[in-house]
Symmetry: C2
Subunit: 194 residues, 2 copies
């Protein structure tokens, strides 16, 4: 678990810096928006990333605490603080996923070299980190038998539209399938979030 | 606390239904999107609401559990499950806030009577519920002295752009102020999320 905590620490400190770069890019866009719709749109994305930033400000020290102070026996679902750590990590997996999509949405709009270069750099790292967090958490949730049932497991399976190595943008066929596949079922059952 | 749990239960079951109505409205929009940008845009909002739905599927039974089985002594920060409840409620306050903005963004686009009527109905209830959840949690976090420092307290103060009784849409002046006000500070300090 120590090695995984080191990787989580690296990923979440990296993404915290990335959020700040993205927010700094959006700030003048919001101030100079051409209409109310555009302003609300970027303002909304800005706020969602700000919410994520404020969660990371709490999560990162929690990861550090487990890195520095704890013994292997503390990495157990009987330890409430460890459960909280896993719960937060599971939430921030989605935070990273949503960030990749915020970057993709921005890439549709900001085509100038400076911003598109920055956005592509952030996007490349965030996508890779999202994939790694997803894989690590699948393994950890399985190892600790936490009864965590990822409500989006079927969703992630279909999430190849995030993978730009296949296509430069989501294809109609893929996304249409996702849209149907994602329809919430009646009687939708989800396990505990830890 | 029992009375507050009853209100939370009502608000979060109501918003769960509202998410499903909104997702059903978005589904054909995604399928018939005019281009990749529009498709990703609505697909992204659809996914964020889907993530919120999956959290509510866990939160609502947790509220019910506290409604039905617990005594007043269990409503204490020394009870880990109660802390988890408060933490989830604090998270879903932001979920409601973001939902109001998703509805506002949709209202810019869907002007036909059927969809704008639905969106306005969902928007009116969700805004009222967001305000109530915010007020109740401020009071509860204070009562239990949970050391919860809302990372967005300054933000909420400025959040009158959500209040349509003042203006029909965010005004440029207000939003510009928000954008500046929301800039993350260096040395940003945030208390525990419980």
């Amino acid at each position: 678990m120590k090695e995984e905590l080191k990787i989580f620490y690296h990923i979440f400190t990296t993404t915290k810096d990335a959020i700040e770069k993205f927010m700094n890019m959006l700030d003048p866009v919001i101030q100079n928006a051409i209409d109310d719709h555009e302003r609300l749109y970027y303002h909304h994305i800005f706020e969602e990333e700000e919410q994520r930033l404020s969660r990371l400000v709490v999560l990162i020290p929690l990861i550090q605490k487990f890195q520095q102070e704890k013994e292997e026996k503390d990495f157990s679902p009987t330890n409430n603080e460890f459960n909280r750590l896993l719960q937060e990590l599971n939430l921030e997996k989605f935070g990273l996923h949503n960030f990749v999509e915020h970057l993709d949405l921005a890439l549709f709009r900001f085509k100038d070299e400076e911003r598109s270069t920055l956005l592509n750099q952030l996007r490349e790292v965030s996508y890779k980190d999202y994939q790694q967090v997803k894989a690590m958490l699948a393994e950890i949730n399985g190892r600790f038998d936490t009864n965590y049932v990822d409500p989006h497991a079927y969703h992630d399976e279909e999430h190849d539209h995030l993978d730009r190595s296949a296509t430069s943008a989501p294809t109609k066929a893929t996304t249409t399938t996702n849209s149907r596949g994602m329809q919430p079922k009646k009687g939708f059952t989800v396990g505990s979030l830890i």
